[in-house]
């Protein structure tokens, strides 16, 4: 029950999952007109694609490439290498996310 105390009992908008409880739909925000395709920049899509492919391909290819060429069939080291490579992808993503935030802040200040 200790974990319950942190959560506020009042339901925020985020906690309501069903659409009916949100009340009558107001006018749509100007940038999200119904039926329009949302503007997603190409850099974001390419970034997400790159990380998706890296997450799938990098650990497996690291395992099979190092297995016979570097560790001479010692699959324990090859497995450890695969885990390390997966974590490198994660760290790269965290750094990328932090850098993007900095860039957003700079652009926001310029606009203001």
């Amino acid at each position: 029950m200790t974990s319950r105390r942190i959560v506020s009992t009042e339901k925020t908008v985020l906690d309501k999952d069903d659409m009916s409880s949100r009340g009558p739909p107001g006018p749509a925000p100007p940038d999200i007109l119904p039926g329009s395709i949302p503007q997603i920049s190409k850099s974001v899509i390419s970034k997400l694609l790159a990380y998706t492919i890296a997450m799938i391909v990098a650990p497996l290819s690291a395992y099979y490439l190092t297995l016979n060429h570097i560790y001479n069939g010692n699959n324990t080291f090859a497995g450890a290498t695969a885990a390390v490579v997966a974590n490198i992808v994660l760290i790269a993503y965290v750094i990328e996310a932090l850098r993007e935030d900095d860039a957003d802040n700079k652009e926001g200040k310029k606009n203001r």
């Binding site: 942190i6 959560v7 925020t12 985020l14 999952d17 974001v44 990380y51 997450m55 650990p59 497996l60 395992y63 699959n75 324990t76 497995g79 450890a80 695969a82 885990a83 997966a86 974590n87 992808v89 994660l90 993503y93 965290v94 990328e96 996310a97 932090l98 993007e100 935030d101 957003d104």
Partner: protein, 160 residues
């Protein structure tokens, strides 16, 4: 084909294959829970501040790594299985232990990542300073799965 003895019983491969299945299934259960739980709050946060999606996705990536740990051990154990080679009872139980340790540790880590990712993304919407603490807690949750992987890798070196 080696002879069936008490040291190499017919059911020894069953234990080994159970280890492969446990490694993949339980770590995927953890990763799925983490991804789903964190994904719910990311969808909620994204409707208000779409620029926070990139940072909130970190918990989903971490949940994905849990499944990679299980995959590594499953591939590792599967490499030792062969119908021609002799397969001892020791090896079978060892592989079962390796699979269970990475699988159940991964399930635990995935549960933690999902819960922290869910609450963290919602808190991040209101207070950006939560981010560093959220990532730290996520890393500690992730390390639980890594411990399971390390134990499984060490177990796998104890081949008879």
């Amino acid at each position: 084909m080696s002879e069936i003895t008490e040291w190499q019983p017919v059911y020894a491969p069953f234990l080994g294959f159970s280890g492969i299945a446990a490694a993949m299934i339980f770590s995927s259960v953890g990763a799925a829970y983490g991804t789903a739980k964190a994904g719910i709050s990311i969808a909620g946060v994204g409707t208000f501040k779409p620029e926070l999606i990139m940072k909130s996705l970190i918990s989903v990536i971490m949940a994905g790594i849990i499944a990679v740990y299980g995959l590594v051990i499953a591939v590792l154990i599967a490499g030792d299985m062969s119908p021609e080679k002799e397969y001892t009872l020791f090896a079978g139980i060892m592989h079962l232990a390796a699979g269970l340790s990475v699988g159940l540790a991964g399930a635990a880590a995935g549960y933690a990542i999902g819960t922290v990712g869910n609450a963290g993304a919602r808190a991040f919407l209101q207070q950006p300073k939560v981010f560093v603490g959220k990532v730290l807690i996520l890393i500690f949750a992730e390390v639980l799965g890594l411990y399971g992987l390390i134990v499984a890798l060490i177990l796998n070196t104890r081949k008879a």
